[in-house]
Subunit: 184 residues, 4 copies
């Protein structure tokens, strides 16, 4: 007798939904992110969505949480390889160049998140932790105000590039970081 339709054999169902949600946000924005679309992308029945998540807000929150965690981990990994402030600058520029700007997806998701968080305070816990982590990472090489300004510069350079469209040379990114970090 063959095994009758196994029922619970999809343990990372929830996981897959979150990943699908991140992808959908990248592709269609938060506004275009619906239960239906995410369910389809995750190959999961529509009914699952409200079973695993307490509505749309919960889904978005968890998706952005994972996205932020990943961004922080990646940034920390890069920072760990820096031995001094000079190298930290290089690492930060590289992070912008190769992480944030590597794919339009990363960029779009960040932007979507900022926009959502700016409007809805219930997403601020994520942004707070995100910013704190990034700044904490940089704090080993720079003083408090510099760290804040660097964080802002990172956002600015990233955003700026997002709207440019065309690929530009990476020099200004590096220069911008150094001006803030080292007074040039």
């Amino acid at each position: 007798m063959p095994a009758t339709q196994p029922r619970h054999v999809d343990p990372e169902r929830k996981d897959r939904i979150i990943e699908a949600c991140i992808t959908v946000i990248a592709e269609r924005g938060v506004a275009g992110t619906s239960h239906r679309v995410v369910a389809a992308k995750a190959h999961v029945p529509l009914g699952s969505m409200t079973y695993y998540f307490d509505g749309m807000h919960d889904l978005l929150h968890q998706a952005f949480e994972r996205f932020a965690d990943r961004a922080v981990a990646r940034f920390d990994a890069r920072m760990e390889s820096a031995a001094n402030a000079d190298e930290a600058c290089e690492v930060i520029a590289a992070s912008i160049e190769h992480d944030s700007l590597a794919s339009p997806n990363e960029l779009n998701i960040s932007l979507e998140f900022y926009t959502l968080a700016a409007r809805d305070p219930s997403f601020r816990d994520i942004s707070d932790r995100w910013m704190a982590s990034i700044q904490h990472s940089m704090a080993q090489y720079f003083d408090a105000e510099t760290v804040i300004l660097l964080d802002a510069m990172i956002e600015g350079l990233t955003l700026h590039r997002a709207l440019g469209g065309e690929p530009k040379d990476p020099q200004p990114i590096f220069d911008g970081v150094r001006r803030i970090a080292l007074g040039k």
Copy 2:
């Protein structure tokens, strides 16, 4: 049968819709901006929306265009009062502090626009002109690379503040601008 009573000749009707749209974007985001809501806010019948605008995209485009024009005009006006690079720094900081960050609305609209433009190239004409104007304004006091970095810094400081929530002291803004502009 329909069109019972055209109310005829309300000359700045279209204008009012655009303003209402900007307000709605500020309050509910692009995602929450629907014909219905804008029409209600503008005290205009729903049917007017597609009469005056060639669909949602057209409406958003015109709304953001006006918003950008206004931002540019304000920035230019401030810049005109600066007599040298030092004063220009002050003016730029003041612009961030008092224009972009003054009301959460300004901030939110900017963010909504960035997000939209990042995803949809058909809004890039606005962002291109916007960036070009701001940079042109600053070009009288700073060299080309500095202008680009300043623009990025402005965006970064603005965006950064958006997620902070609580009002912080304006000192870092001023410092950030000067580090970029004058090498501190």
Copy 3:
């Protein structure tokens, strides 16, 4: 918030919608067939329409498919009772007289279908199968060309009567069939 009370498990719901759609097509034409109207006639909430059908096109396709199947079945049933070519002629004339022309509804639906299929090739699968079935049914009594001409004659007599309005005598129908089928 929506979906206050799903009425759950109404098994021939979809069926009822298709039947309602056929009726609406008869009464108001394809042009007058809207989700709203069909839903109302089927006593089904509007939201059901796009739940059960993949849009208007799908609904129409399924409705016409059922209509065609029914017409074919009826024609076949009649043909089965014919023992030779002579009786086949009688049967064909009776089919026109009593099936196609019996109610203005049958007629109108056919006409609506022809018009739709002539314009939109995605309905040709139905007309192809329909024509093939009818011709196959007649092929047991008549040669290939005769079958084709008979099919055309059937359409012509039917259509012709549609525009007449007043009921006319059935003699010409019988004569027309025999002239084609038997060379008179």
Copy 4:
């Protein structure tokens, strides 16, 4: 002094609208024929539509009237060249082949008209005159019943071809006409 904006210099405005309407019917069907679309195709302001025509029904009626008149004139012209019943058969077959079936447009418009007239008796005046004219044309060569059957056969062969899609050989058309007309 140059002539000031001449006001009434578009005498065939109405004419152009009717022609545009026929084209639109061919392209999009009666269902897709709207004031807006016709006005655009005729390069005429939307307001003209209800100025020159007493609503949609009037426009359609006049458009189909012109279309029918043209079809009748063309058929009559062909028939005039026939000297006897044999030649009349050839002429009829040629009419089907080269007039009705030449362009899918002709076909579609006819079908649209039949469908409309079948549903709406207020278009029957056109179909009555159309049918009467065609039959009158043929009456010089054939007896009354034959004429009726020929008319039906013409419709049938035309319609039949409409749904076929692929171009077929003209032989069956000729044969069909002769079987009806001459008992083969």
